[in-house]
């Protein structure tokens, strides 16, 4: 008897290092039972949503999809993924805090796959005294101090070519300064004073000549690893990759040097494509992933990220990778990088905001004015008000 053949699409599969481990993890599922065989599909980050959505819209697509929160809401909205309430009913899962974002309109359509928090990563060797800055002023000062001789104090993204990464970095500043893209009622607050403060801070860094302008994320992360960048605020996945790919690199982590501890969060969900012809097998896989030992393996292979359920890390691991604790502690302060209440419209709002921020960075436009513009444009164009 042949096994049912399923496909599972995830960006992670195409990452060096983590991809191989994740494939091995899926293989474990394949070995664990006799009915289904899951084939991993690696789709690069840049075209993931477009590719998978085109396929799903066309009535096909992978059976299982790991998708970013931003895509998750769109998929839920168009009923392209299956509800999972019935499947998980009665299961005794100890979900992590951000699992709440998976519930839309009282129903669940996916389980968290990877939760990644943001903290400050730094190269102690490049910082004076090896100490991380504790607040924004210190941060600015030590970034400046570290800059020189081919070394940059800090790195982040500020290009439309990396719009999504830019958005993530921007979220950290805005959230860190206490801003949010919308209020509790789902009204846009793009020009809120706190948001403007975050943008202003973003601009301050930009103007301080401490960042390798134009280096894309892949490059400056590589530079970090080559000890040419002193600090960056980045997510647990990145830290995981560093520890995997550059074991000799002695880096450390600290809470982000912003007034509040709130930071963005990469939230990805594991979902079942509504077009699947192998519903039962797909559901079996989801149940399998939620089993504690599999969750444990997953958390480990993902690096500094968390998974759907709460998994304690081993003491040895914590000792070996002290930065894990910083990430884990950050979890309670993490906020998804979405416009809450307007999740489906996030891409458009994101585009509007980023363009305005770019104008601030490159065109010298006043942050307040820029964000006012953003608010106005978003209201009229996206919300048609």
């Amino acid at each position: 008897q042949t096994k049912e053949a399923l496909t599972f699409a995830a960006v992670t599969f195409s990452e060096a290092g983590r991809g191989e481990r994740l494939k091995a993890w899926v293989e474990k599922f394949n070995k664990s039972q006799a009915v289904a065989e899951i084939t991993p599909i690696a789709i690069p980050f840049g075209s993931f949503a477009k590719t998978v959505f085109t396929q799903m819209g066309g009535g096909a697509g992978p059976d299982l999809v790991r998708m970013d929160a931003i895509d998750y809401y769109a998929a839920v909205n168009s009923k392209s993924i299956l509800p999972l309430d019935d499947l998980l009913k009665g299961g005794n899962y100890k979900f992590t805090e951000p699992d709440k974002y998976m519930i839309v309109g009282g129903k669940r359509f996916g389980v968290p796959f990877e939760l990644s928090n943001y903290v400050l990563l730094y190269n102690p060797a490049l910082l004076k005294g090896g100490k991380p800055p504790a607040n924004f002023d210190e941060f600015l000062a030590s970034a400046k101090a570290a800059t020189g001789n081919g070394v940059y104090g800090y790195a982040y993204r500020a290009t439309m070519a990396e719009g999504n990464g830019f958005w993530q970095d921007l979220c950290n500043f805005v959230y860190g300064f206490g801003g949010r893209w919308s209020d509790a009622q789902g009204n846009l607050t793009l020009n809120d004073a706190k948001v403007v403060e975050g943008v202003t801070a973003y601009k301050q860094i930009y103007d301080a000549s401490v960042i390798p302008k134009g280096a894309d994320a892949a490059t400056y992360r590589r530079m970090f690893w080559e000890r040419k960048v002193a600090m960056e605020v980045d997510n647990g996945g990145v830290a995981g990759i560093f520890s995997l790919q550059a074991p000799e690199l002695a880096f450390a982590a600290a809470p982000s040097p912003f007034p509040t501890r709130a930071q963005g969060m990469v939230l990805t969900a594991l979902t079942i494509n509504a077009n699947t012809k192998h519903k039962a097998a797909a559901e079996a896989f989801i149940k399998w992933t939620l089993q504690p030992e599999n969750q444990k393996d997953l958390q480990e292979l993902l690096g500094a990220s968390n998974v759907a359920t709460v998994v304690e890390r081993s003491p040895e691991m914590m000792a070996k990778r002290p930065w894990l604790k910083v990430y884990d502690d950050q979890a309670v302060n993490s906020v998804p990088q979405l416009v809450q209440g307007l999740e489906v419209k996030t891409p458009e709002i994101q585009q509007i905001v980023l363009e305005q921020v770019l104008k601030v960075l490159q065109g010298g436009v006043d942050p307040k004015k820029a964000m006012d513009d953003a608010q106005r444009t978003a209201l009229s164009r996206v919300l048609r008000k």
């Binding site: 690069p44 840049g46 085109t54 819209g57 892949a218 080559e226």
Partner: protein, 277 residues
């Protein structure tokens, strides 16, 4: 006179060399980048010459990635696209060249219009159609999709070439008892051979390079083409620059080499089309 001649000749040669430099530099730079150690890559001064001690990156690219499979798939798609395009294009090219009637004029206009459609616009409806036809996830499907975009321009090139085939020859063949189909196959086809080569090259490049459809219509890893494979390296978290450049070069060179072999026919093939007066 001979002095001015040699001066202008020298100037010409300098310009030619400059032109070649401009044309080849990025490819050379790919080679250099792929063969620079990663610490040197991020050095304040660029290395202008390849560091051959790094050549292992090529072996690594082969062993660690599916680049061989990608190139094979790209080759299949490229040759398939070229072949199918020509098979499909030769008859309408003949019709466009030899018949004057309304339906033919409409066909000509339609061919132009199809050149204007961006792949990105058609990919969604096409995906649905391919799903219905069971063509998803197959190189055949990819060939079919690519051909839809190459056929129009190839038809127009071949039309120009057929214009250059003397009608006498066709009439002679007709009198000798050859059918229309026979005329196209045994007379026109061999006589427009250089243009076929030119057309094949255009279709080949299109198939070899195509990205949007290859990305969308194929999800099976084993069927990925090189463009998708290469783009897949542009990671969010890290881009292994050497490997990317090594694969980029391995992806570029076959097309360049292929072109070196056929370029003679391409120029004469295009000539056949353009010198129709």
């Amino acid at each position: 006179m001979s002095r001015t001649l040699s001066w202008s000749h020298a100037l010409r040669m300098i310009l030619v060399l400059a032109l070649l430099g401009v044309a080849a530099f990025p490819i050379y730079w790919m080679l250099v980048t792929s063969l620079t150690s990663s610490s040197d890559l991020f050095a304040p001064k660029p290395h202008l010459l390849p560091d051959w001690s790094q050549a292992a990156v090529y072996g690594h690219a082969f062993s660690a990635t599916a680049v061989a499979t990608w190139l094979k798939n790209s080759a299949i798609v490229a040759f398939g696209t070229a072949a199918l395009s020509i098979v499909l294009a030769i008859f309408p090219a003949y019709v466009l060249s030899r018949y004057r009637m309304r339906a033919v004029a409409i066909l000509g206009v339609a061919l132009f219009v199809t050149q204007m459609l961006p792949e990105a616009m058609l990919v969604v409806p096409l995906y649905a159609i391919f799903g219905q036809l069971g063509l998803l996830n197959s190189l055949t499907g990819l060939i079919l999709a690519n051909t839809a975009f190459t056929v129009p321009v190839i038809t127009l090139i071949l039309k120009g070439a057929v214009d250059g085939v003397p009608i006498d020859i066709e009439e002679a063949a007709g009198i000798d008892g050859c059918s229309r189909l026979g005329i196209v196959l045994t007379m026109v086809l061999p006589l427009v051979a250089p243009s076929l080569a030119a057309a094949a090259v255009i279709a080949f490049f299109h198939g070899w390079n195509e990205y949007v459809f290859a990305q969308t219509l194929i999800s099976d890893q084993g069927l990925q083409t090189a463009s998708v494979g290469l783009a897949g390296f542009v990671g969010e978290l890290s881009t292994p620059m050497h490997t990317v450049m090594a694969i980029g070069l391995m992806y570029t060179l076959p097309a360049v080499i292929f072109y070196l072999f056929v370029q003679r026919y391409v120029v004469s093939g295009m000539t056949a089309g353009s010198v129709k007066g």
